[in-house]
Amino acid sequence: MIPNDTPITPALVAEHGLKPDEYQRILDLIGREPTLTELGIFSAMWNEHCSYKSSRVHLRGLPTAGPQVIQGPGENAGVVDIGDGLAVVFKMESHNHPSYIEPYQGAATGVGGILRDVFTMGARPIACLNALSFGAPSHAKTRHLVAGVVAGIGGYGNSFGVPTVGGSVRFHPRYDGNCLVNAMAVGIAKKDEIFYAAASGVGMPIVYLGSKTGRDGIHGATMASAEFGEDSEEKRPTVQVGDPFSEKLLLEACLEIMAKGCVIAIQDMGAAGLTSSSTEMGAKGELGVMLDLDKVPCREEGMTAYEMMLSESQERMLMVLKPEKEEEAEAIFRKWGLDFAVVGETTDTKRFIVRHQGDIMVDLPITELGTEAPVYHRPFVFTERPASVDATKIQAPIGIAEALEKLIATPDMCSKRWVWEQYDYVIGGNTVQRPGGDAAVVRVEDGPKGLALTTDVTPRYCEADPFEGGKQAVAECWRNLTAVGATPLAITDNLNFGNPERPEIMGQFVGCIRGIAEACEALDFPVVSGNVSLYNETKVAGEEFGRAILPTPSIGGVGLLADFRKSATLAFKAEGEAILLVGETTGWLGQSMYLREVCGREEGAPPPVDLTEERENGDFVRALIADGTATAVHDLSDGGLLVAVAEMAVAGGMGAVLGDAPQDIPAHAHWFGEDQARYVVTVKADQADAVLARARDASVLVSRVGSTGGEMLALPGEMPLAVDTLRARFEGWLPAYMAGEL
């Protein structure tokens, strides 16, 4: 055991991930050498993961307000009003580094952490989603990571008992050394019964609840604030182990004592465990905190103050209870078989004091621990915008039908059924639209309201042009919610980037944020919660800089349906209906899936997003859904028009006959271009003219591109494709790959 009065050497400081100038900041702040435990606490609070020191100045540019917003960023999760006295509580968070080291537990505890963030606020979780990015399918680790991460997400969510209703999965060699696991949780709470972290009152008991504290996950947040070297395997002990059973008990116990009015303040123990939760409660309440570690329930004997303060053992909570309700709360926790211990109290000193075995191990100013964390204005250079690709100069190497067959069987565009069938998406009995559509739809309690949920981002667009890519991620999220008929409410953002100490990475970050901000502003779609994950890169022997991931700002969106029964799905419904294309098609092939997967070229500028057009087109489509005119709706994204139509055909088990491409656009660009702000909508044939007239009145571009019907997808000048063949191609790739057949 290392004693608390261990001399603090530069090597020890460096091991704690603190730079020399950051250590000087500590000395200046407290006016003496810190104890070992204090050094550990600074390390935990001032790392990138907890302090947002590189990102904070830029995050301020995001719009976070709106009439619907009850709580924006800064609490455990965002809170948005959905009427009827109810609020939706949601957040997305990354667990990238742990998932790469130990995929099952890394992903599982990612789900556990985000669920706690939501129920800490008094909400019962009603849905989970995720956004996963893996390396190239051919990379030696990819199959292992996919299998482990998916099993871990399912293993936790299924046992906890929340439906996992949606998400996204992508593959790219840039994630070879760093996979991304972004988990989102959504809950419902009574609008006037939201719980916050700020403590109030002096001398109030601080109560520890949940599982016991062990030696797992010590310095997990510090690990997540550094790039991977060749020793990442050795970091396995910093990954926590999840216990969804305990979390389910913790959920029920917490909701029960909240309902009984026992709770003044509550904070879950996530990153940096006891340290982060207790200082946050004190600092937010402008109070001091005294902790007595002799009272902390421990799983192992002989734990030091240092270990207890930095443990990231899962399924733990810290609360300030109303003293007169302490007994009642304890009885509820005992009923659920959970630990309950008074471990400290609030004070009026604004100091953070930790006692252990009679000694004071920590004595720090509580407010400054947070506010004096370093803030960096890191240098950045913007990505140079690539030249646009001229579609007329791109040779089509294969025919349109063949290209379609190829595209829908690519790793990024194929069906992810193999993944989502390992998640219980049915539990709760409220899943109206299951995985596989544009957005999941979940009924709110007994209805008629419903929530639409989705996660989106197109990293290749962000890489080519961070600003347009950031805009596009938000716009696509908004579009997916619209495509099921929902009114988009707000987003949570999970910003995954490389090493911020590199100006070009910082430039990607700043560019994406500015794009996100512009789109959120234009679409009245504020950011209410989020998470930043930097240092997603891996050192490669012989190279000066690590290899960074594609910039991946995952956007988790929530939309509201006044009546869930009126949500639209993408499946073709009936023979002989008119297929309409909403939005302008210019044939944009730059950064398209067609260019990458069929032509083998990752180049050009991504499609620009016209946010005015986005809004007008979306409002038009939402109105068609609301009045029952639209029979099927699908947003256009990866793969453009023809892929969207093929997905609608496969989902409906029904073919279509499509008309000619316009003269002024090359056929491949017409069918596979990725112009934004577009939807495919089907309407009854006899209503098509009326819809076209409505569109003209609204100045929205709508054209008829074909009719539904038959068992084939028929394209002009091409051999028709059987829908069954398309389905086999669409469904085939992932199971075959995971079985090791590819």
Binding site: N158, F245, S246, G428, G429, N430
Partner: protein, 236 residues
């Protein structure tokens, strides 16, 4: 149909008790009693015990093994011995097997993965209180969500179950044919649900309680609960 007095058992880690309670309320008009595992008696007048799905005790030991030894299970054994109706779904089926109320065990799915999807069940008999809402041979679509639903028992037990007509549901193709491609978990003889020798205890892996509302989608699960309500009413 005001006579159903259902008791839904709640063990730590059970997570479909709310789904089950809602379905019982929707179909019978009566909210069930929620009975905590430490209770030693069922509420007076209970005429149906339901053990819902979930992960009792995290399924950290064998699925259902710890719950099967809970205080309330003695009361359930007594209730069943007296001919009372007991329905166990998913983890509830596993608990019934572990508690000796039904024979056999549920092993990990053949592909070793958790599977959530709609499956087709062939209803083998309609002359039980659980299936009187269906016709024999009818095919119903209900969801499964489990990692350990692969039913197995020794040869003699299987022969007796089959011989006595105690296999009530089998995984089948949409047309009702038994086909290994439609038996997602590899259960022997495609067994999805069985009854006890007296026919009053049913264990099944699929979740009929999640397919009862037309606004959510399929309603094929409704027949089981509507039939039970009828059976209880006619018995009352």
């Amino acid at each position: 149909m005001a006579t159903m007095k259902a008791a839904v058992l709640v063990f730590p880690g059970i997570n479909r008790e709310r789904d089950m309670a809602r379905t019982l309320r929707l179909v019978s008009g009566q909210a069930p009693a929620m009975v905590w595992h430490t209770e030693t008696a069922l509420p007076a007048g209970t005429d149906l015990v339901v053990i819902p799905g979930g992960f009792s005790y995290g399924d950290y030991l064998r699925c259902g093994a710890i719950a099967a030894r809970s205080p309330i299970m003695d009361a359930v054994r007594q209730f069943a011995a007296g001919g009372g109706l007991v329905l166990g779904v998913c983890n509830g089926f596993q608990i019934l097997c572990e508690s000796g109320l039904l024979p056999g065990v549920l092993m990990r799915n053949e592909n070793l993965r958790f599977i959530c999807r709609d499956v087709y069940l062939r209803v083998e008999r309609s002359d039980t209180p659980f299936t009187r809402g269906y016709n024999a041979g009818q095919v119903v679509k209900v969801p499964v969500a489990h990692g350990e639903g692969n039913y197995i028992a020794d040869g003699e037990t299987i022969a007796r179950l089959e011989g006595e007509g105690r296999v009530i549901f089998r995984y089948a193709a949409p047309d009702g044919m038994i086909d290994p491609n439609w038996n997602h978990n590899g259960a022997i003889n495609a067994i999805a649900g069985i009854v006890s020798d007296k026919g009053n205890v049913l264990g099944m892996m699929p979740h009929p309680e999640n397919h009862v509302e037309d606004v959510i989608g399929v309603t094929d699960g409704r027949g089981l609960f509507a039939g039970l309500a009828e059976a209880l009413e006619s018995a009352a």
